[in-house]
């Protein structure tokens, strides 16, 4: 299996570090090449790191509730930056307050995120999906070429 590169980080002014450290370990153990930007990462930093490392996916965390403000526009900026086929995942406590998840999901799907995860996301499941999503995008890309 080819090693996939993923960029990890907590977006915006968010300082929640615990989940991020666990995700880093988990995906590294699962065989990914993990570029972890840690907490308080701007959209630009995510994009720069993805370009620099030729990443297959960006996995964004937002725990602190201001995710809606921080996550808007990233898909557009990725495309502008030439990251046309990058997988975009986002997870955590994405909005302010305890809200119905399907509404949150729709909101972030509309922003261009491929998959949206709750805090209790099963990481094994996520790994499977991530491999699938990367591979299917890759084959799209290869077909194009």
């Amino acid at each position: 299996m080819r090693q996939h590169t993923i960029v990890l980080g907590v977006i915006g002014s968010d300082c929640h570090a615990v989940g991020n450290k666990i995700l880093e370990r988990y995906f590294a153990n699962a065989g990914f090449n993990v570029i972890n930007l840690g907490v308080m990462v701007s959209q630009q930093e995510f994009i720069d790191a993805a370009i620099e490392t030729n990443a297959n996916a960006i996995l964004i965390s937002s725990l602190y509730g201001q995710g809606e403000l921080d996550c808007e526009g990233l898909r557009g900026r990725c495309i502008e930056a030439g990251l046309e086929n990058i997988v975009l995942y986002v997870g955590g406590n994405l909005v302010i307050g305890k809200k119905d998840f399907s509404a949150i999901e729709r909101k972030f799907q509309r922003m261009g995120y491929d998959r949206i995860f709750k805090p209790d996301a099963d990481l094994e499941q996520v790994t499977l999906l991530l491999r699938q999503d990367i591979d299917s995008l890759q084959s799209v890309q290869e077909n194009r070429i």
Binding site: C15, A17, R25, G65, L69, P119
Partner: protein, 481 residues
Amino acid sequence: MVVVSEKIDMTEFQKERKEVLETWSTGSMIDLAEGIEFQKNLSESKRFSLVMKNAQENGLLLLQPRAGVALVDEHIKLLSRLENYCDLLPTTIDAYTRQNRYQDAQRGIERSVKSGQSMLNGFPAVNHGLEACRRVVQAVHKPLEVRHGTPDARLLAEITLAGGFTAFEGGGISYNIPYAKKVPLETSIRHWQYVDRLVGFYQEERITINREPFGPLSGTLIPPFISHAVAILEGLLALEQGVVSLTLGYGQLGNLIQDVAAIRSLRELADEYFQRFGYTNYELTTVLHQWMGGFPEKETQAYSVIAWGGAVAALSGATKVIIKTPHEASGIPTCEANIQGLEATRQITNMLKDQYLPDSRELSIETEIIKQEVRAVLDSVFDLGQGNIAAGAVRAFQAGVIDVPFSPSIYNKGKMLSIRDNVGAIRVLEKAEVPLPESVYKYHADKIQQRACAEGRQPCFQMVVDDIYAISKGRLVGRPR
């Protein structure tokens, strides 16, 4: 930047102050003399320090929630309802303001107006400015504290104290290490010396502002001695600037004995160090935070975590308890969820108000262990500082003498590893550079070994991960499945 440990000189302060007030438009409104006048006219029932002191003298346990929304009127509505259920009011500040990103906070305010619901995770007090703060203070009947997580809180302090808030949480270490990534410790400590000097200035004018170092740090497997060392250092730094009313904090960990030993040793150690440094004129109280790590998603389960926090707060004799809510795992609580957390907590703290955990061999040992640990760490800090507490703290973090688990800061070593023992107390698995006495380290190792035996696996990072998830998955010790 070189940080020194001494009372900031008033001319220097005034010069710096001018610059601080210029960092956002609302700063220009602040007039110290007028702020003091406003504070003088507040009723005694809104004076945080006084309410804390009375509670302590009468053996009461006060309840305080967390709460803050983007817009002023909404915030007032929220606090006005909450104050029927709590003893002390908060104003939690949003995360942009905490990073001095006032422009982003402004966008958050605008989006909140548009969407009809708060898009910020707190109240952007700097953007709203002085008059808005005063409207809040005047609308409620209980003492108000600013609760945040701001490495540079100088402008926030100027505005909220002139605005009539009577307590201010945080400190140069506790509001940096868990809350920032790249802010040098000397910078945040210096900025907090400013805040403490400001509070000291109010104090000189006979306005007591309560100061509360943030106890729980990252809320994640923090051994009591680490947070105690930080709390006492921040207490000393505050006293240095003329602060008088201090509430030292601690985040509940879940093991009854360790938690009670922690609150008990925190008081005793603080007195010991404050007096050793020549301070006598201070008002010391303690606060316990209900479990600060990951919560179970089910509200039924969350209620039990909340109740256990309330029980331990009562049994340990803390003066204040910061409450959680059944929404904790999911999102910022609605007003209703906050009230639910308060009602549940009130029931248990009332039921246990006259009870305490009696002395026992186990409790004495645990208390003594924490004391030995804190003394070892603080002695090393003072050695490193050579008379300069602030510099000692900075060097201690550089050297890993103080090491906070799961901190996002690059100025924290992050080498020490802690896990739960077989009864759920937090122990040090790898001390790294933390100068724990050998006998104490051995004590930790033995306790961890007991768990390892019980679980039939060697202590390892997976144990740490299991412990992080444990409470959210309905237990305390992260046993293998």
